[in-house]
Symmetry: C2
Subunit: 459 residues, 2 copies
């Protein structure tokens, strides 16, 4: 990127909103994945017009443009693998409108997830998807990666709540997609084409989200199982039962061991733990749901079942689930958090299959995740400075993806494809679908300036 | 379409599954809209392979191919406006799989909506979208038009339940889109591109639908209002309240008059009726919701509120809503059922605006619809044999679309665009969005063989 281009960018965003200093570029060379590449410059655009003008320049001079939210992505989608210009969206962080009567909120892409949550709380409304990085991640990033969360089985994921988008196309044109209406059957669903497109088709500059009334009552419970099969059958029976718990988290044997060895949490020697939450309008209905769930746990010979009778007791049960990631970080200097999903009934096969794979390669690992929607997160610990461990890790990840797709699953439940899973797209999608995705990318972005190298879209 | 092509088609589907007899072609020249055009031939394909071979021929000889379900569409999407070949999907009517533990059902496009409903009932599961034509319409048609229904406000519409599709592209290639997983963030959302595409991008040959556990308790109520404003405020207050009723139907003054004059239903002179249903796991929670709703009705000075205490009483309240369409048919030989939607808070403005428009043109009409998601159905009655009434009708419809879009609404809540609304697409969508839709159509179907003339995609 030569100086004349940099000067043009400075003209657009202002000198204080442009950087090509090494320290900044280093910080923009990575997200929460283990992928790295340094961009040539970064800007902090403040408006749709800024972005439109920037993309026109980028298209003219064919340099990559990489949109970036908070950089919490785990798949490397925000890593500027071919250099180019990072668009840090953090300045476009205004909540533009909250229309409770229309059940929608209008936000800029740089709004932090928790800031919307806080803004909706006084109305007793909420935005149901709940990514673990909610206190830092941005809604633009959530939409670009179709972020999920712990309550997906009952409430769905980001894609289920995006009603309308303003998007700047690579040619600089600004487009409105979708509708402010709860229902619309009017033309192709362009909105959904951009949700989960990881910044490869256009830059999202405004987002209209559907919001829900907050549930008023919650119940939290925990079940311990000595047999993984029993735990799996319990999950499957719950999905049969007519009850959809708002949370149905599973922790595997390794996770339990790690918690025993490295945390103050006091856990017996069991093979699996299931954390469950039911919610609703009334205590009566949440209890009704929880009783059904407990009945199923008992029927599947749960070793123990604990129900929280107070918020404090619920927090105590939640502490078990929430302490995992921080503990894992202590065991080896690096870890990779995978994100595969399978049809719900395949969860036990995936759990046992993953354990078998990773054990063969001798790396420490834990597996936990959202059993209610079949989305598991194997966390594999390794030391990046040891080439053998890196090699083992790569083999483990490849085998996990193969197993997942053999079980009718998907490479990513909620983290997206990015760089990390780009090489594996053909394991999940047939060649015609891959070709169609390539064609759509070329249609929108013929010069491949938008976040190149991601999602396996390179021909 | 010359005889050699017809012979080739007969070779593919068998002589008994091909027709070009006048009587058949006349019956395929129309759907439930007031649009007519005769095709040149029709076939009853039995497999994905049949359809693939047919599309290859169609692409070679450039004749239109129009997929057709039960022909219940109200927007003319199944009318072969440029002639060509009708693909009647009725023979591909098998329910291929029901996987309760995975919360999904796999069906062929010709499966009748109610047949899936019946097949799911023994498991206490259901497919939530509920089009009024459910006892005859096909799931393929539901997907192609993104069909809605009376419970959209709480349960969403067809698009919210389509997980996976098998599609035959115009070049004859077969593609699998989506995933059997509850969650997937893996590549562009090709599934959603086909939902609501009205057969213009590909032929859907297999559908995987997400299914839900059936609610176990219901409560039905009815509120009468002397002022439309009060009724509108009540709807808006309900959406504020945290309650999402499973049904929130509004009937306007004209509908009430029509019911008074032409049915045995005994109704007082009021300006608006709201029919409400709440559902859930327990009686306690449905009653809790209904009490909140009644409180809001009273606060907004409802003239009367009736709650059904038995299924019989509930059926009686439902009879009011369900008898409208049949009664309307008695008043004038023809009627057009429109399908506009606006943001929920705009429902009163839309109701009053529509009344004003239609009155000025002196045609009888009723307005009713799904207040909970802002989707109203003005039914305008006329006599097709009277050129002046036809002219008046066209003007009325155009003005209603303009008003709707001025209120931030959409041309179609659940019927689709088809032929009826094709000329109005630019009222709702900006030129860039229209151009992108055209580009996508050309990308998939460069020879424009698939259902040409629909959705305003003609350049």
């Amino acid at each position: 990127m030569d100086d004349s281009i940099k000067e043009t960018l400075i003209d657009i965003v202002g000198r204080q909103n442009f950087t090509d200093s090494l320290i900044d570029l280093v910080s923009y060379s990575n997200d929460a994945s283990d992928h790295y590449h340094r961009p040539e410059a970064a800007v902090w655009p403040a408006s749709t017009e800024h972005i439109s003008r920037i993309l026109i320049i980028a298209n003219k001079h064919c340099f990559p443009v990489i949109p970036r939210g908070a950089g919490t992505g785990l798949a490397g989608a925000a890593v500027p693998v071919y250099g180019g210009l990072v668009l840090d969206m953090c300045r476009m962080n205004r909540i533009l409108d909250i229309r409770i009567a229309d059940r929608l909120a209008v936000v800029q892409p740089g709004v932090v997830y928790n800031d919307l949550k806080k803004a909706l709380a006084p109305y007793d409304f909420f935005f149901p998807p709940d990514p673990a990085s909610g206190n830092v991640c941005t809604l633009g990033g959530n939409v670009a990666t179709n972020a999920g969360g712990i309550r997906g089985a009952k409430y769905g994921v980001t894609k289920d709540y995006v009603m309308k988008l303003e998007v700047v196309l690579p040619n600089g044109l600004v487009m409105q997609t979708g509708s402010n209406c709860m229902k619309s059957a009017s033309g192709y669903d362009l909105t959904r084409l951009f949700v989960g497109s990881e910044g490869t088709l256009g830059i999202i500059t405004e987002i209209t989200l559907k919001i829900n009334p907050k549930p008023m009552a919650f119940k939290t419970g925990l079940a311990l199982f000595s047999s993984l099969r029993d735990a799996g059958r319990a999950v499957s029976d719950i999905m049969h039962s007519g009850i959809i718990p708002s949370v149905l988290e599973v922790l595997d044997e390794n996770t339990i061991k790690v918690l025993q060895d490295h945390s103050s949490v006091n856990l017996p020697d069991v093979t699996a733990i299931i954390l469950v939450e039911t919610d609703g309008y009334t205590r009566a209905e949440t209890s009704f749901q929880m009783e059904k769930v407990i009945e199923i746990f008992r029927k599947n010979s749960a070793a123990d079942v604990q129900i929280a009778d107070s918020i404090e007791e619920a927090d105590e049960l939640w502490r078990i689930r929430k302490s995992i990631s921080s503990i894992v970080a202590q065991i080896r200097p690096n870890n990779v958090s995978e994100d595969v999903a399978v049809p719900i009934s395949m969860v036990p096969n995936l759990l046992t299959g993953i354990s078998k794979i990773v054990r063969n390669h001798g790396l420490p690992f834990v597996v936990f995740g959202h059993a209610g929607d079949g989305n598991l997160h194997p966390k594999i610990m390794y030391d990046r400075s040891d080439p053998d461990q890196v090699k083992q890790l790569r083999e483990v990840v490849t085998e996990i993806f193969k197993l997942t797709c053999d079980l009718g699953g998907t490479l990513s439940g909620e983290h997206g494809i990015g760089l990390a899973k780009a090489p594996y797209m053909t394991l999940e999608h047939d060649q015609t679908a891959i070709d169609v995705m390539h064609d759509i990318k070329r249609l929108f972005d013929p010069n491949n300036i938008l976040n190149p190298g991601k999602m396996g879209l390179e021909v």
